[in-house]
Symmetry: C2
Subunit: 359 residues, 2 copies
């Protein structure tokens, strides 16, 4: 069981404690003298490439690699006041102090004068602290803690989906300096976007078209085919399969997919969540042991159904990938990837899967 309590930080932001035990005292008050931050976030439409970009000019001043002694994600103790008022915690979620999207975004930023079209950056950006221990990582969490994180992400997905204007909830973790992580304390993030990302929209369109044609789910068909082929399967649990995609874009990329057709994290049963905690930790540990020069930097993200469309045909998946292609060598997104949008993968997916299996 996961037990939730909430409070507000000194500048009015919401914070949620997700505890593994009931009745923990979470009444600690944020005593910092914290001015409200100004945000000027907006979304702008690109009529040529058909996608929204978020413009958040106020974020340039955000916290950038503070020394460990100043970590804002540690619990507050010994007179040092952080973002988390409590002296200890299991899992904590709170609103980002420097958000790219906010429910307070100003309406002044709306414009619709072809070819220029913009709207306020309505939404939420939340930080998810996985543990009060500054010096560990997700891969080293106990399965029970991984389960608490999953419960927290599911709960936040449900709540954020209710905000007017929110069209997509994306839960993710950036891990490693090479990904640009500015705070090393183990944490993830949740973005609630005011639009369905164009990449997600394409996948929803694919799922819809396949369902119209066949009456079945595309992701179900892909997972079934991967399990039958076997060559790209990394590990299976009773209710989930982790496999490298046939057309992987990243050197080491794994999709973790539930066998049951479910749209999002809140739809998972207790059993599926427990099973997920195990296989997810297993996959992260494989990334940790891939290279001789230390744990691989990675990005992990949850591909959930959009909030208001195509929920019936969408099939949940987590995507974990690293940009390290060999010890000391990164996969850079250069001309082909960032300019033309064409990914070149130097590691054959079958080779990647074999290495992740430990062969």
């Amino acid at each position: 069981m996961t037990f939730r309590q909430s409070t507000k930080l000194a500048d009015g932001r919401e914070l949620f404690y997700y505890d593994e035990h009931p009745d923990v005292d979470r009444s600690a008050v944020d005593h910092r003298d914290l001015p409200a931050t100004a945000t000027s976030s907006q979304i702008r439409w690109d009529p040529l490439f058909r996608e929204w970009a978020i413009v958040a000019g106020h974020r340039q001043a955000r916290t950038y690699r503070p020394p460990t002694s100043d970590c804002p994600l540690d619990p507050s103790h010994d007179g040092r006041l952080t973002e988390i008022p409590a002296g200890d915690y299991d899992v904590v979620v709170f609103e980002n102090r420097f958000p790219s999207l906010t429910t307070q975004a100003s309406d002044d930023l709306a414009l619709d004068a072809f070819p220029f079209r913009s709207a306020p950056g309505i939404g939420r950006c939340e930080v998810v602290c996985f543990t009060s221990d500054h010096d560990t990582s997700f891969a080293q969490l106990a399965p029970s803690r991984a389960r608490t994180v999953i419960d927290a992400l599911a709960d936040r997905t449900t709540e954020l989906s209710r905000i007017e204007g929110v069209e997509y909830v994306f839960c993710f973790e950036n891990r490693g300096e090479e990904i640009g992580v500015t705070l090393t304390h183990p944490h993830g993030q949740i973005y609630a976007y005011p639009f369905v990302p164009s990449r997600t929209e394409r996948a929803a369109d694919s799922a819809r078209a396949y369902h119209d044609d066949t009456g079945h789910c595309l992701q179900c068909a892909i997972v079934a085919a991967e399990r039958q082929a076997g060559t790209r399967v990394v590990v299976e649990s009773r209710l989930w399969t982790a496999h490298v995609p046939f057309s992987a874009r990243w050197p080491y990329e794994v999709r973790i997919v539930p066998h049951r057709h479910v749209p999002d994290l809140p739809s998972l049963t207790d059993e599926e969540r427990d099973d997920l905690a195990g296989i997810y930790l297993d996959v992260l540990q494989r990334f940790d042991h891939l290279f001789s020069d230390g744990p691989a930097p990675y990005i992990s993200g949850w591909q959930q159904a959009p909030v208001h469309r195509d929920r019936d045909v969408w099939h949940l998946a987590a995507e974990v990938f690293t940009i390290r292609r060999a010890p000391g060598k990164l996969k850079y997104l250069a001309g082909s990837e960032s300019g033309a949008g064409v990914w070149i993968n130097d590691v054959t997916p079958e080779v990647a899967a074999a290495r992740l299996r430990g062969e």
Copy 2:
């Protein structure tokens, strides 16, 4: 005038000299003992996200940051044999020794068993050396040399478009260690893809839809609106405008667009090419001077029309952008960008344009 001569390297690859003067002796022979490289490139289709990825497992062993004394893009001299047999050159284009795409890609790699679909990685990857001087940069070239590079890119676009199976020709330059550049000698690249990149396809669809609706060109409308607004214009020449896009994804991003509706580089007149040489150098120099900690790393790419479709509605543009957002700070493509495909820009486009104008 640009004068072309061609030769073959020791392993059979083609090389083209683009000279600024006629009758230069380009008969030098490649005397290296160079084994033919094996390539196993294929393209794989992602049925969910609807895009091709290139899988080039043989490329892991490619040259990685050789010491300056071993630069393979220097001319051959004093007994040191490089990729360029001549002792000096103006502009040289040759086939990449470690290509991601090749006309020799094996048919064995074709597969069409839903959901798995792949095809041989037919195409070409070429290297474009801008100057024999190892220690300079594109921004420092003379306008006449920039013009020669433009002529070379236009000529290669024409030739590569004739290769059976090639659907898109992308000319680009990666500059700077932060972009992952492995050879510091000033050079660009050309990729001839066997498909239209999905991002390009979206832009072609937009252009087609706008043309169907209005009878006009979308890019013409955008440039006209940007010139009228003025706030995002960086610099104008007689025949070209350089502006930051309204919905820029990168901290500093500039589109250089010809005023005339032309589909690609080969279609440019002599006058347009001369004018482009000037404004292109001007824009690169602005990127060089943006930050106190040295020239900005950048990616520059040419958005040309697809080879076989939508050529009538496509409008040529160059896109130049940097991933540096402030001195010492990079824009990383983390969870939102690489996971969800949503770009967050911390620099407001109008602010970026003002800074690029020198205000």
